[in-house]
């Protein structure tokens, strides 16, 4: 308890936070001006078209990245689940490495090989999400009722045959559910990946913010929120449909 307090206090103290700067009247005025410049947001058709393209790019990034991650996750989940003595530890290590590195860091790394644009963002999302989904899928596989798999293995079916005929049909509802849940996360991640240059709305945002085009920034922010809300409701509706 005391240690906790010490941690908190030392954090604040060591950071040299600019409270005065943030809460001064001058800062308030500049914030006020700043926020004021957001309105009215830029709604010219030419710009809206650009934002639309950015939205489509971001959406596509999140979809393709998630899809790739499902394939990768399933492929790695089987070796990572209990019962695979040899491969389990290294596969788990790989999955852990993939998921501990945040999407943005992956994107920054991949930009070096893949260049600017949404390709790096898609692959970054795919890599990180493979780690997350792989671990979730492996846990689903381990928790699935053992009966069907046992019967097929006792009958002499091969490992992959057992996976496709017994394990996968059982974990499919959970796979779908986790995938939709990660899609909701990935649309948010995709929106901001562009800040490092990985395309989509994020790239537009960083560009226009850098030039202090606040009205345009407001539009882009609104588009981001809209996209996130859209994906959230689609995912919710789909999940509802699954449980019907």
């Amino acid at each position: 308890m005391a240690g906790l307090l010490a941690l908190v206090v030392s954090s604040f103290w060591s950071l040299d936070l600019q409270w005065a700067q943030f809460f001064s009247a001058e800062a308030a005025a500049s914030m006020g001006r700043f926020v004021g410049e957001f309105f009215p947001p830029d709604l010219s058709p030419a710009f809206l078209r650009k934002v639309g393209v950015g939205m489509a790019e971001t959406l596509a990034m999140s979809l393709l990245g998630t899809l790739l991650a499902v394939v990768g996750g399933l492929a790695l989940a089987l070796p990572a689940s209990k019962g695979q003595q040899l491969l389990r530890a290294p596969t788990r290590a790989v999955l852990n490495a993939l998921r501990s590195i945040p999407e943005l860091v992956w994107a920054a790394l991949l930009l070096i090989s893949a260049g600017l644009g949404p390709f790096a963002g898609t692959v970054a999302l795919a890599l990180h999400t493979t780690g997350v989904l792989g671990r979730l899928f492996a846990e689903s596989i381990e928790n699935a009722p053992a009966g069907p798999a046992f019967a097929l293995r006792a009958q002499g079916a091969g490992t992959l045959q057992v996976f496709f005929y017994a394990t996968l049909p059982q974990v499919l509802p959970q796979v779908m559910s986790y995938t939709l849940y990660r899609w909701e996360n990935n649309i948010r991640a995709a929106a901001v990946l562009g800040v490092v240059g990985a395309g989509g709305l994020g790239q537009l945002l960083a560009f226009h913010m850098g030039l202090f085009h606040m009205a345009k920034t407001a539009t882009i922010l609104a588009a981001m929120l809209l996209l996130v809300a859209l994906v959230d409701s689609l995912s919710y509706a789909w999940r509802r449909g699954l449980t019907r």
Binding site: R99, V132, P145, G147, P148, F150, A151, L152, R153, A154, Q155, G156, A157, G158, L160, Q161, F164, Y165, A166, P169, Q170, L172, P173, Q174, M176, S177, Y178, Y181, E184, N185, R188, R239, L242, T243
Partner: protein, 281 residues
């Protein structure tokens, strides 16, 4: 396939170390093509015996020979090939809830199929007529394209049995095939099983709770009690006194009431879980 079990001790797979073994010095010899029923009160070790015979549970002591071969000295690949020649049907039908009956039944053929053809069969079932005729033996032909979780418990059990008719096996080990079936269906199912085994020359070992059905359909009865073989006789020589002794303190089971077992298949169905709050989102 003939099998020979000698002096086997086996512990239930979930049992703690040091606990009493489920099977004690059990010896059994079954010739190829023979049909026999194992009866006994609950807890006598019938399921464990079946798992030992099916090379699914290694015996702690004693030896098992399938067609003269000890499965437990074989390398893994050879063991899997040997397993391909037997068929073990657990008491709870091992069917994934969302799978369709046609796929579930055709899964019986997997040991004989290559990975590629089994995957192709997932996309489009490779042998619909065979699946249909197997299901028809159990009066389930019209359920061919239904999902397993839309069937009743008894229907699921019969689908599990129908798998045997498609398996490339020489030995059928069936655990409690009648537990969810009403008497009429039970008759039909046993007829289908025994006739199917006879046609194919397959060795059939069944555990049964329904003693009258066992006596009526099987020429050879093995009585198991507390993990030991109480008797191993032709059906005609099984007297009511022997039965009474076998089922001592479990008389209610003697009258044919099978102990209820949880049909856990039903509850595994469409529960799409809410994703747990995790991974920072």
């Amino acid at each position: 396939m003939d099998l020979e079990l000698q002096g086997a001790n086996a512990r239930h797979p979930a049992a703690r170390a040091g606990s009493v073994p489920a099977l004690h010095g059990v010896s059994l010899r079954v010739a190829a093509g023979e049909q026999l029923a194992v009866i006994g009160p609950s807890g006598s070790g019938k399921t464990t015996l079946l798992h030992v015979l099916g090379a699914a549970l290694p015996p702690q002591t004693g030896q098992l020979r399938l067609s003269g071969q000890d499965p437990w000295v074989l390398p893994r690949a050879a063991l899997q090939r040997l397993r391909g020649q037997l068929f073990l049907a657990p008491q709870v039908p091992p069917l994934p809830p969302r799978q369709r009956v046609v796929t579930a039944v055709l899964a019986g053929r997997l040991p004989a199929q290559s990975l590629l053809s089994s995957l192709r069969s997932l996309l489009y079932p490779s042998d619909i007529p065979a699946a249909f005729s197997a299901l028809e033996q159990f009066d389930l032909g019209d359920k061919l394209f239904e999902r397993v979780d839309r069937l009743s418990g008894g229907e699921r059990q019969r689908v599990g049995l129908a798998r045997a008719l498609l398996a490339p096996a020489r030995l059928w080990l069936v655990d409690e095939p009648l537990s969810s079936l009403d008497p009429a269906r039970a008759q039909q199912a046993l007829n289908a099983l025994t006739a199917g085994a006879r046609e194919r020359g397959v060795t059939l070992v069944t555990t049964l709770h329904q003693v009258d059905a066992a006596l009526a359909h099987f020429p050879r009865i093995v009585g198991l009690r507390d993990g030991e073989v109480a008797f191993d006789l032709p059906a005609g020589q099984v007297t009511p006194e022997r039965l009474a002794r076998l089922y001592m303190q479990h008389e209610d089971e003697l009258t044919g009431a099978a102990p209820s077992f949880a049909t856990s298949v039903a509850q595994a169905a469409d529960e799409v879980p809410e994703p747990v709050v995790m991974h920072c989102r």
